[in-house]
């Protein structure tokens, strides 16, 4: 999958839960879901479920534990897609 496509897909998933819309404009690898985008922690679960649906993968708890930044999410998505 192209890097840009993955960025765009992830950004689309995260957008409705980001309370800081300004940070959303600077969506980059180091963007932290909670600290930068101000995603409510209960909505992190929604992001994980949306990612699972969109990419048809399953994110286990150990993977979910480290999914705090855009880069973390992309790494997990790539790994799970590869394992399919």
């Amino acid at each position: 999958m192209e890097e840009k496509d993955l960025d765009d897909q992830l950004r689309n998933i995260v957008s409705p839960y980001a309370q800081n819309k300004e940070s959303l404009k600077e969506f980059k690898d180091s963007t932290h879901f909670i600290q930068d985008l101000e995603v409510n922690s209960a909505n992190l679960v929604d992001i994980i479920l949306d990612v699972e649906d969109e990419f048809d993968i399953e994110i286990d708890n150990d993977s979910m534990e480290g999914m705090l930044t855009v880069e973390d999410a992309k790494n997990i998505i790539r790994k799970k897609m590869h394992e399919k």
Binding site: I34, Q35, S41, A42, N43, L44, L49, E65, G66
Partner: protein
């Protein structure tokens, strides 16, 4: 060591659909899910357990100086007493026990977690109009002060807020939380 978490029940209803397939399974153990589904007020039970987990996670993170992680399923909640407004319970995280107290009102749930059963704590919930940090600094200065300068609140590299005075960290443990129309703080009176 302490942590606190506040949930604005009205906003939670708008922000989160916990009935979404797969949602409960991602964050609650089988026992917790059973308790939720068998309870009279499922919505309250979801947010009660959630706020207990969040509060305990914050206390655990501070106690062990851990970087942030997100694994709510690895925290196990149990309730000890569940009276009308005040609920007490326990949360186990990586074999450590944290003791919780939760204030339950029609529009909010505010949970406190402490590392010891009888830790001395000041915890308050505020409406969002009030300034959370100012309120905490006032309370802190009254308890641990007086200080020549007003202590500042800054986050450390693990995103844990701390008091600073002249760029020196003050070793007092506290926790901030806000959600929707409410905010809350908890401050330990045992100097760490």
């Amino acid at each position: 060591m302490i942590g606190n978490d506040i949930v604005d029940l009205h906003l939670a209803k708008i922000q989160s659909n916990w009935r979404r397939p797969g949602y409960l399974q991602k964050i609650f153990t089988k026992e917790e899910q059973e308790k939720i589904l068998n309870s009279e007020n499922k919505n309250k039970m979801v947010w009660l357990f959630w706020s207990m987990k969040e509060a305990a996670y914050k206390a655990w993170q501070r106690k062990n100086n851990r970087p942030p992680k997100f694994n709510p399923l690895s925290l196990e909640c149990s309730l000890r007493s569940n009276s009308y407004e005040k609920t007490t319970g326990k949360v186990i995280i990586e074999e450590e026990t944290f003791y919780t107290k939760s204030l339950i009102k029609s529009n909010l749930i505010h949970s406190l977690a402490t590392g010891r059963a009888n830790e001395k704590v000041i915890w308050k919930s505020l409406s969002s109009q009030e300034d959370l940090k100012n309120s905490l600094v006032r309370e802190f200065s009254a308890t641990a002060g007086p200080f020549l300068k007003v202590p500042e609140i800054k986050k450390n590299r693990d995103y844990i807020p701390q008091f600073y005075l002249n760029d020196q960290t003050l070793s007092y443990n506290f926790s901030l939380s806000h959600h929707g129309n409410f905010s809350g703080f908890a401050m330990s009176l045992n100097n760490s």
